[in-house]
């Protein structure tokens, strides 16, 4: 335990030169641009398509009424693309670490920075900063884009009804999913295995568990899956279940639990 503790004390320090190195690594491979580019196309295109569809539907249903007056319409629906694009950010998280292991690059990296836990944390920090920046641009950009392309705007301003909080929630969830992908990748190391497990957990296990539980338990469980928590973070409803802060904490807890195996084992494994 003492070695673990002393290691932890030493490992609090992440040197800026490692961050610079990880930044160069992240932006110098094409897969990063593929992942971010996919999201950058998907999110605004989805918003525009939603706008067109809504326009047509609304026109058919109630030609005279304004959009804002329609209670059934969720003004943030055009931003659903942010949650749809989660797979791209998750895969980016996976690839950021598995590409090092599958290519052997990790051995070169570890010669320069032999402190494995600190190297992992530096890598994760750079990844999350980039994901947060891109997700912010996409989320806020698409919000304003939607306001522009909708016939009557979204019927909501950034300051209305906690809209800005919902947008921050989308960004936070995107950062979470990238961290989760990274955690799975760091634990499994192989790209194929990690992407499969990431997808299986995020898209299959998380919907299967609530489905197989008995009614009320399944209902409750569905609020605590990744997407259930994402709903709480990104909704305009006043009282989501669970509440926003709780949902954020739970997602953070999911991330920490997922990261734990890699962080605990990395010093002991052969590179």
């Amino acid at each position: 335990m003492t070695t673990l503790e002393s290691e932890w004390v030493k490992s609090r320090w992440i040197k800026s030169r490692w961050v610079k190195s990880e930044w160069i690594k992240l932006v110098s491979v094409r897969s990063t641009w593929w992942c971010l580019g996919t999201a950058a196309v998907l999110v605004p295109v989805f918003a525009v398509l939603t706008a067109l569809a809504t326009d047509a539907v609304e026109a058919a249903a109630q030609p005279k009424a304004g959009l804002a007056a329609d209670d059934a319409f969720d003004p943030l629906r055009p931003l659903s693309g942010v949650l749809l694009a989660q797979f791209a950010f998750g895969v980016l998280g996976v690839l950021t670490i598995t590409s090092e292991h599958s290519t052997g690059q990790i051995r070169t990296s570890l010669l320069a920075v032999p402190y494995r836990r600190r190297l992992l944390v530096a890598k994760l920090a750079v990844l999350l900063a980039v994901v947060a920046a891109v997700a912010s641009l996409l989320t806020f950009g698409t919000f304003f884009l939607s306001q522009a392309v909708y016939p009557d705007g979204l019927g909501i301003a950034l300051g209305d009804g906690g809209a800005w909080k919902a947008l921050l929630g989308m960004i936070a969830y995107t950062v979470f999913i990238a961290a989760f992908g990274f955690a799975v990748g760091a634990a499994l190391r192989g790209t194929g295995a990690a992407i499969t497990v990431f997808m299986a957990v995020t898209f299959v296990v998380m919907s299967a568990v609530p489905a197989v539980l008995p009614n009320s338990a399944g209902d409750t469980a569905s609020h605590y899956t990744f997407l259930g928590l994402a709903d709480s973070l990104t909704t305009l409803q006043p009282d989501p279940q669970p509440g926003m802060p709780v949902a954020a904490l739970l997602l953070a807890a999911y991330a920490v639990v997922a990261l734990a195996p890699a962080l605990l084992l990395t010093e002991r494994r052969d590179a």
Partner: protein
């Protein structure tokens, strides 16, 4: 100086390194010789802190690698030419490694030049031949201008000119007083490069001596085959008609 003491590495029941003890001194080229599967690469990875020893220690200048301040400036290594991400350009790869060691881009360009890769610096490594990858690996090892250098089979895939270049480079590095440790399974290559040999087979030390002592009357190749004859992991069976 590299000091290996009582080193053991087991993978389950298989023993890759079986009680190795030797010392690699500065100012000369030390060849690390042994048949395929003798444990050379494993030993080098343990010295570099990449694999964990089951028993024993491997120290560089009296310390494990991870306790060295700025390890890149103390130790350089070419492990295998595939220890790179093929999607990066040669320059991006070197810049990323250099940045982690606090080394500037001018040194990156100098190493590209030195390894004869300046013309292909902007190309993705995926398209490199094995020889070009070896050159890139050597450029990476030299980035921090380190005193201790490890090369695992550096001439694999190199053409005649490349082999001569590596040989001259290693002799030069040793002449500058650096510790140079080079593995190979080819005795003939070592005969032209090394001053001192560490020979292992099946993870055990077979010889640790100046190259002159190992040759004696017989040729170096014969001496090597005699030494390792009983310790070869994979024998070829003679096929008779």
């Amino acid at each position: 100086m590299i000091k290996v003491t009582g080193l053991v590495k087991r993978y389950g029941k298989a023993v890759a390194v079986d009680g190795l003890t030797f010392c690699v001194r500065p100012g000369r080229v030390t060849g690390f010789l042994g048949p395929n599967g003798a444990g050379k690469s494993t030993t080098m990875r343990i010295i570099l802190g990449l694999d964990r020893a089951t028993e024993g220690r491997a120290l560089i200048d009296g310390r494990p690698l991870r306790e060295l301040d700025r390890p890149l400036s103390r130790v350089g290594a070419l492990l295998d030419a595939s220890a790179v991400h093929g999607g990066r350009t040669a320059r991006a790869h070197l810049r990323a490694v250099a940045a982690a060691g606090g080394i500037g881009d001018d040194r990156v360009d100098a190493c590209l030049e030195l390894a004869g890769l300046a013309a292909v610096a902007g190309r993705r490594i995926r398209g490199f031949s094995l020889g070009m990858r070896q050159r890139l690996g050597i450029a990476t090892a030299l980035l921090g201008d380190p005193d201790v250098l490890l090369f695992d089979e550096p001439v694999n895939g190199l053409d005649a000119e490349g082999i001569l270049w590596v040989r001259t480079l290693m002799r030069g590095l040793a002449a500058e007083g650096r510790t140079v440790f080079v593995s190979s399974h080819l005795m003939a290559e070592m005969a032209n490069t090394a001053d001192h040999l560490v020979v292992i087979g099946r993870g055990r030390l077979l010889a640790d001596a100046p190259i002159g002592e190992l040759t004696g009357a017989a040729s170096l190749e014969d001496a090597y085959l005699e030494l390792t004859g009983k310790a070869v992991e994979f024998h070829t069976r003679e096929v008779r008609p």
